[in-house]
Symmetry: C2
DNA sequence: TTGAAAGCGCTAACAT
DNA sequence: ATGTTAGCGCTTTCAA
């Protein structure tokens, strides 16, 4: 049927040992004499052995449980998309005896994260995927996860110090330079620009700071361009938030606003639309329901897509491949910085996840 | 281990028959007494049996050959990327006893395609993936393929009439409107625009015509914008090609050029750079080596990414899943229309295929 | 018409 | 340290 295919049995024959020995060498299970080891390795080097993953999976007949921790998707379009990605992964991995348990926590409440994380860990999952939005709490959590030797994948926010199996996300600094580039496109130099962060825990959100740094660097490196760039940061539950944004829009010298979060984007867009100003460029993040109408009617000029659905989906994929198929996962996978405009929006909405 | 899972053995037990009988019922193989049939069906109706696809695949121990037909990647950056995608698919699917044979033909020679297609079909592959760039020849080819009941996937160029298992590509019309949008960004109305096709067989290339149609439609729908849009089409081996392009660039009223093919993009960029003109916007296709430097130095303003590598890779994936795992493939998968700029280019170059 | 059994390639437990 | 063997769930062949 498949003449070219080399099986463990064949390797054993070629090396003059038994299947068991080959298996031990392949998986570094030890209990192999140096002599036998050499013989097997020699054969392995000569041929390109590709294990039959189907047989491997069937044989080991293991089932895996992956715990996925993410902020509550209710009332939050961004995390809703992440959750959607996890759900797609669920049905995909069901074929491989791998289930994904979703644990959601309150994105505004660190205690809630700690609680949920403890619960998740108590079930002794075989792997963990998380969007570690609380820095300190994530550190202690992953210390415990690592103690139990459970592999874990991070998405959305990176914490390199915890050395995850994989990080899935974007380069925040470059994201900022892309924002700046889109801001400058066809514009004239001069006037004011605002960088606006709308986040619960801004000063702990390294990636938002990085976006801003990138945004500023773009202009700083071009000395023919001069903008007065101001930073504003607010909390979603801040008092008089809407008024504060209205006020900053009032400035007639304002030429553009770069909003670093998806939820901030629609909030600012609402104000901007209300103000009736046509000459303020607005750049924000993500293809969320709340953002769509503003992009369509031109209030938002560009969105940068962080692709939360795919981030979540791929996080599970990498972890699943690691557990089930023993494939090695990349240390990190940085998504492209997708620019969404009125005209290409639908092509993104209609495209699948694969 | 996996308590919820029902196996054929379990069904047999419940129905009071043997595994073999259940299998015969499941696959309508006949040779089952009405009585036994009833008993099995009754159980099947009560439970939700999901066959273990892994076991099925291993057991049937089939191997599959997929024939991939595409233009010769030598000296063509675009098709080189497609070929790269096929090669990645090769190593991916080698795990599943599925090999992919690559057949390349001369993209400027229909006879070559016919010849190669005949050769490929003569090997009786289990599936075919093709970029059907020659319309008429593709029609007759797929007629023969269908006669042999071999499933086939198209990518790059769609021919809906041949009803492929799946089409992988982009919406060419929308691609044109995206090009137009990028052309208009921050520009003032008035002046001339050029749509340039550089293709061997332009009038047979429906998708290039569609791009142009989309490009024009964008402006036609906005009656505040007025551009004089001219179409030029050349063959890559056309006499005095470079001079002709130089000439059209000479026009001082020219404000922008939309090039509908990837190879055309770098050709025009070379002329444009040489001309020293800074006020002509250039929009083209694809992240090819030849295009990169022009995007980096600002000669090319935007690229629209068709993602040939991923198109090819996914074509094989869908076909492979169909053959090996009996998964159903989507009728078509349209890729997002990705906008590539100076700043987000690297994020695309660095990102993987998954 | 039916049941029993071999086997797909790999893993892992079990003798030796 | 090494070889043998019993599965994993399904397909398919072979007796009965």
């Amino acid at each position: 049927m498949n003449p070219g295919k080399i099986r463990i049995k064949d390797i054993a024959q070629m090396a003059g040992v038994s299947k068991g020995t080959v298996d031990r060498v392949l998986h570094n299970r030890g209990r192999v004499s140096p002599d036998a080891y050499q013989k097997v390795m020699k054969v392995l080097q000569e041929i390109d052995y590709k294990p039959n993953l189907i047989a491997r999976t069937l044989s080991s007949n293991k089932s895996y449980r992956i715990a996925a921790l993410l902020p509550d998707p209710a009332n939050d379009g961004y995390w809703a998309q992440s959750a959607e990605g996890i759900r797609m992964a669920q049905s995909e991995w069901a074929y491989y005896n791998t289930s994904i348990d979703i644990y959601t926590f309150d994105q505004y409440n660190k205690e809630s994260f700690k609680q949920v994380a403890t619960n998740a860990l108590a079930t002794h999952p075989n792997g963990v995927v998380t969007a570690p939005i609380f820095y300190d709490e994530a550190l202690t959590f992953f210390e415990r996860v690592r103690e139990q030797e459970i592999p874990y994948v991070l998405f959305n926010t990176n914490i390199p110090e915890v050395r995850p199996l994989t990080f899935i996300g974007q380069d925040a600094y470059r994201s900022g330079t892309v924002g700046a580039e889109l801001m400058y496109l066809g514009q004239q130099s001069g006037g004011k620009l605002a960088v606006l962060h709308l986040d619960e825990d801004f000063h702990n959100s390294l990636h938002l700071l990085e976006k801003e740094r990138g945004f500023r660097a773009y202009f700083a490196h071009r000395n023919t361009i001069h903008f007065d760039i101001k930073e504003y940061s607010f909390r979603p539950d801040e008092d008089h938030l809407q008024e504060k944004i209205d006020t900053l829009l009032h400035d007639d010298a304002l030429r553009g606003i770069f909003v670093s979060t998806s939820k901030g984007t629609s909030v600012v867009a609402a104000s901007l639309e209300k103000s009736g100003k046509k000459n303020v460029r607005l750049i924000g993040y993500d293809i969320l329901k709340d953002n769509l109408k503003y992009l369509r009617n031109g209030t938002i000029d560009f969105l940068i897509n962080q692709n939360p659905k795919r981030q979540a989906f791929l996080s599970v994929s990498h972890l699943g491949n690691h557990l089930v198929f023993k494939k090695e996962a990349p240390r990190e996978e940085l998504f492209p910085l997708e620019v969404i405009t009125q005209q290409n929006l639908d092509s993104y909405l209609n495209s699948g996840i694969h």
